[in-house]
């Protein structure tokens, strides 16, 4: 079975024990994103201090891929500057659209490299991106509120 290439241990670990889960105060923006094809959903908050992402907190319902991805994302962006975090987000998006053809950069993506197998399954890419898209959206809104 090829399943192991999609469901790497890192992913299953994050799925079973997600990091940073739960909704916390304070926050500048909260968004609710849904995957219309399957109904997976995430509610996500962003708390900025200056241009640093101080906290990302979320509640989500969904498959292992969407859950694990939100967990990995929160690990990656919390404590980073908005600019750096956005760069990581772009890198992850590129990985997802690569159909498994690029070698992910572990220095940048850390645990997120484990999602390389997911990029071969177009129907699952949206799952892996759900949390990231919500975070991006919430961050832009938080920045708008700030300015």
């Amino acid at each position: 079975m090829q399943l192991e290439s999609m469901y790497q241990e890192i992913i299953l670990d994050h799925y079973r024990r997600p990091h940073h889960k739960g909704l916390r105060e304070p926050y500048e923006a909260e968004v609710h994103h849904v995957n219309p094809t399957c109904g997976d959903e995430v509610t996500l908050r962003v708390h900025l201090v200056g241009d640093v992402i101080e906290d990302v907190s979320y509640e989500s319902l969904g498959c292992s891929i969407s859950q694990a991805s939100a967990s990995v994302m929160s690990d990656l962006v919390i404590g980073k500057s908005v600019k750096d975090a956005m760069t990581i987000g772009d890198e992850f998006l590129a990985l997802m659209q690569s159909r498994g053809s690029v070698e992910p950069d572990e220095d940048v993506l850390e645990d997120a490299v484990a999602f390389v197998g997911v990029s071969k399954y177009p129907a699952r890419i949206k799952c892996a991106l759900l949390g990231w898209m919500a975070w991006k959206d919430a961050t832009s809104r938080a920045l708008e509120t700030a300015s």
């Binding site: 079975m1 399943l3 299953l12 399957c38 109904g39 969904g62 498959c63 292992s64 891929i65």
Partner: protein
């Protein structure tokens, strides 16, 4: 494994070229997603191709031989399809692109009644009027009615669903009342498999003076359907779910109603006289078939009806009933699996939707796919129903005439394999 006498011969699979292809890792394809769309037998593909290669022309518009032959093929297809659903008047069969358009046609014709003069006044819907649906509807038979209410100011109401997955009729006498202008319901749920007591509901609706729309997208392909028996006014279905091509659907409607209804999509071939200032329209079915229609697809759908008729819809239904009983029993043995829908095969079609503790349906679907088993995961365009059952998503295996007992064995084995993979057993 037993060979049940009701089953159709396994050789049927040979008529469907796609069923002999292999999928991931060279595994044979086990197709359990016919509720989404069915596969097509060679006979249907041949009929379409023969039309394109021998008789293709714009129908109803030309006087040359090809146009004559194309028109004959198209209208012959209409007659075959009318006969298939027990319609005695071929003019009651309107071609659309899918069941979704068929339902929208009725919904828009009703709102168009507001600007179509007194002859259409019986179709007027407005504030204070009620449109009644059910909580188990496919979005195709829910959203168009929400939108009709939005356009007209009418109020949407709905039947609930019981824990067993049956329609909750306890409030029927309050729900169907003198304000009810239209009742829209599914014949067979695309998630639960439940077959609704259409005649009973239709009788009450008729007594209240309401129009009755039946979403037959999941019944016409699977059980004998006779419009004369059902007591409804309109019936919608799609070709692609019943061995036919994509791109074609049907709205059947009572002739006297269709003849009084304002048009929906307008353009060529549906007009009587056109002036810059105003236009008059042809009688049904032409009034509702603007533009060059899906001619080859009508011919293909008629070939699908012929294929089903030759097998016999009774036998198709019996085959699926036997498979359903077997599948329900198989799934019931799996710990941690919760079926959404009736647990017995009575008044129920071959649609098996379920959740598995600790394994999200997306993940379950992925494991099954890896094993060559195609099922559908998600809300299956019935989101309110999923909310009703506190299921964010379900896994759905939906059966058709080409499925076999081993397909169901493979499904059950696959579910157990997923449970093992995700460590929930």
């Amino acid at each position: 494994m037993v060979a049940l006498p009701a089953l159709l011969p396994e050789e049927l699979k040979k008529d469907f070229p796609i069923l002999s292809r292999t999928v991931r890792g060279g595994r044979p394809l086990i197709y359990l997603d016919s509720g989404a769309t069915s596969q097509k037998p060679r006979q249907v593909l041949d009929a379409e191709r023969e039309f394109y290669e021998q008789r293709n022309a714009a129908v109803h518009r030309g006087a040359h031989l090809l146009a004559e032959e194309a028109t004959e093929a198209f209208e012959g297809a209409r007659a075959t399809i009318a006969h298939f659903i027990g319609a005695t008047d071929v003019r009651e069969v309107v071609f659309t692109k899918n069941a979704t358009e068929s339902i929208n046609l009725v919904a828009y014709s009703l709102s168009n009644a507001a600007t179509s003069g007194s002859s259409a006044s019986r179709f007027l819907v407005g504030p204070g009027d009620e449109i009644l649906v059910t909580e188990m509807e496919h979005h195709a038979n829910l959203v168009p009615w929400q939108q009709l209410c939005q356009r007209t100011g009418a109020t949407l109401r709905w039947f609930g669903v019981t824990d067993e997955g049956r329609l909750d009729l306890s409030q029927i006498d309050e729900l169907i009342n003198e304000r009810t202008k239209l009742v829209a319901m599914t014949h067979q749920s695309n998630v639960l498999g439940t077959v609704l007591p259409v005649q009973e509901i239709a009788a009450k609706a008729r007594a209240a003076g309401a129009l009755i729309v039946l979403d037959a997208a999941q019944s016409v392909p699977h059980i004998p359907v006779d419009v004369a028996d059902l007591g409804v006014d309109f019936l919608a279905f799609s070709g692609h779910k019943m061995l036919g091509p994509s791109g074609i659907g049907v709205l059947w409607g009572r002739y006297d109603l269709l003849a009084a209804m304002p048009p929906f999509i307008t353009g060529g071939s549906m007009i009587e006289v056109v002036r810059m200032e105003a236009t008059t329209f042809m009688p049904p079915p032409q009034r509702f078939e603007a533009g060059v229609p899906m001619t080859a697809q009508a011919v293909g759908l008629a070939a699908a009806c012929d294929y089903l008729t030759e097998l016999g819809m009774d036998r198709v239904a019996a085959h699926e009933h036997a498979l359903t009983e077997y599948g329900l029993a198989k799934l019931a043995e799996i710990p941690g699996l919760r079926l959404i829908g009736p647990s017995t095969a009575e008044s129920r079609g071959g649609t098996l939707a379920f959740v598995v503790d600790g394994v999200h349906s997306h993940d379950l679907g992925q494991v099954l796919d890896e094993l060559g088993i195609a099922v559908r995961v998600g809300h299956h365009c019935a989101w309110p129903l999923h909310r009703r059952f506190q299921a964010q998503a379900t896994t759905r295996a939906s059966l058709y005439l080409y499925n076999t007992l081993p397909d169901l064995d493979a499904l059950a084995d696959g579910v157990r394999e997923a449970q093992k993979f995700f460590g929930t057993v």
